[in-house]
Symmetry: C2
Subunit: 347 residues, 2 copies
């Protein structure tokens, strides 16, 4: 015997109404030409019976599962909730479910995660690649969200422009010496953000970049960043490339007795939950994940619906970069403009 589902199926509705399954199917989907009256009767009866169409049956017949995969470099990444929520929302609006797959750990796990999704029959997937990874293709359409400078990127926040926003903000407050704080030198996203900051600086401004990954390799993980010393060197603004690093900087500075924002400013990236909760709250730059997700998903869905045969293509979207929005929460300039330091530097 074959296993049967609990609920009613098309056949039950059909026989109970004395019509054919084809007609019921057509009536419910609104595709075939069925008389308005019958449509009405069928829909009513289906609702009454609590009919839930079988995805399996539909998938087998149409060759499409109605499910998208979401591959993340590391689910534990604090940015993940926003991304997942946005993708789920966009997919759901387009009538798709979202299957998650974490590429926990290494690059091999990413490939494995992708394969797992293919085995589950996803119609396409959204991949946020691991750092340094380059997705060539899978067995289905793929949308990539990373950064505009990543080859093959489908859509993403314009991280470079986000950096420009930060630089502009700090410049406007009168800061001249900026310490950029990143935690991964390999990250395309972080490099774009840093590049944006650097190129957005006005004449006379100076920046230095502190890569935490490098520092920790030398001094052990969790080591102090030595920011108090940087303050004494005349840095008045600390521009972290992610809110998490901003938080690290903020608390280290506070602990050293340096007042924020009176003495120095701290900015972040991403507008994560805690940015607004800490004292003082963080100036940061927000990506419009809903927009990004919407673009990625609709590009994906377009490809899925268009291509008759499921192929492994990298999907492209018309809009590839979505502007980041500056959220100003700290707005003090440097307390004692580091004039002397600057002058010395110019000598």
């Amino acid at each position: 015997m074959t296993a049967s589902r609990p609920g009613p199926n098309l056949n039950r509705i059909a026989t109970s109404l004395g019509v054919s399954v084809a007609t019921v199917s057509n009536a419910l989907s609104g595709k075939g030409r069925v008389s308005g009256q019958l449509v009405e009767r069928i829909r009513e009866h289906a609702a009454e019976l609590g009919y839930v169409p079988s995805q399996a049956g539909r998938a087998l017949r149409t060759g499409r599962s109605g499910v998208l995969g979401l591959v993340l470099p590391d689910i534990a990444n604090p940015l993940f909730p926003k991304i997942a929520q946005a993708i789920e929302f966009a997919a759901s609006a387009a009538g798709y479910g979202v299957l998650i797959a974490d590429s926990r750990g290494d690059v091999a796990a990413q490939t494995e995660a992708i394969n797992r999704l293919v085995e589950r029959g996803v119609d396409g997937m959204v991949i946020i690649p691991r750092r340094g990874t380059r997705i060539s293709s899978a067995a289905c359409p793929v949308a990539i969200i990373d950064t505009p400078s990543t080859p093959g990127n489908t859509v993403s926040a314009d991280h470079w422009q986000g950096g420009l926003e930060i630089a502009g903000h700090l410049a406007g407050l009168g800061h001249r010496r900026i310490l950029i704080i990143g935690n991964n030198q390999e990250s395309n996203v972080q490099n774009d953000r840093a590049g944006g900051i650097r190129s957005g600086m006005r004449p006379g401004m100076h920046s230095e970049t502190l890569w935490i990954d490098q520092l920790e390799q030398e001094n052990g993980s969790g080591c102090p960043l030595g920011l108090a010393e940087k303050v004494s060197q005349g840095f008045t603004a600390f521009a972290a490339l992610s809110d998490l690093q901003a938080l690290r900087a903020l608390t280290e500075l506070q602990q050293a007795g340096i007042n924020i924002p009176t003495d120095v400013s701290v900015t972040g990236f991403d507008d994560l939950i805690w940015s607004s909760v800490v004292t003082p709250s963080l100036t940061t730059v927000r990506m419009d994940m809903d927009r990004i997700a919407e673009i990625a998903v609709s590009a994906l869905v377009d490809t899925i619906k268009t291509s008759s045969i499921r192929e492994g293509v990298l999907v492209t979207a018309k809009i590839k970069r979505v502007a980041m929005q500056l959220i100003v929460r700290q707005s003090s300039g440097p307390a004692k403009p580091p004039q002397k330091t600057s002058e010395m530097e110019n000598m």
Copy 2:
């Protein structure tokens, strides 16, 4: 015509090898009695062709999709990554995929999210209920992760015991006046944590509870918590019921010039990413989400495999509470033991 998938199917393998599909199926699944030789040949050929079984075909035939649903109260919750990762890992190990559904916003959305998963044909689901919600049943087996005091809870961290750990830790350091900081008075989880702290206090200790939701209702969201005043009232320990609130407390205290951990201690709950990143890092209590997920998923899978007909039952597990583990990162007692205050209090 019916749509066909890109890859090879059982039929192709069968004809290409001159055997029947039944034999191929049996060989690949290892179920029927097929000669070792043939099994070998068939598996080899299948691998060569890059055969990927059709979930749709299998699901239609067996009545099981091999997919579990995960319903979250709010994906944007910072705890979500850990949960999702753990569930995905456990499900994946058990051979299941995970479909996510966010019950964004209100309670109605939760019901809708559940229905959406049912429509997608999940075999069962893990629900982390919204505060104050009570899941009665869905159209499939359901495992609930909340807190042991929630009726119907399948498995969860032992939040009460976590509170005991915190109280014991603070008592050991010599703290006598503890301010418990929560952000949601309705939350079962937070109430259990607070209850644990209170009941774990030694004689002579005193606690007060600050509910941020209540405070913000009066003074507007994002208002200061007035912790400096609490310090002057003799409180030396601030036990937040979540790491986010701990972070809020930590930075507010630092901003007020109060040194942590020299002057006062701050503890959290959950060991979220930032607990170890801030200065000073937070003492907190960690749930073993991997263990919890493993228990929830295996209870769910057991029910799915046992019940021949898919019913809407709340799944139960043998182990309902998983111990929380104290992570000590701050270990100073109160600088000036609030002796006088205590004495006054006893008068």
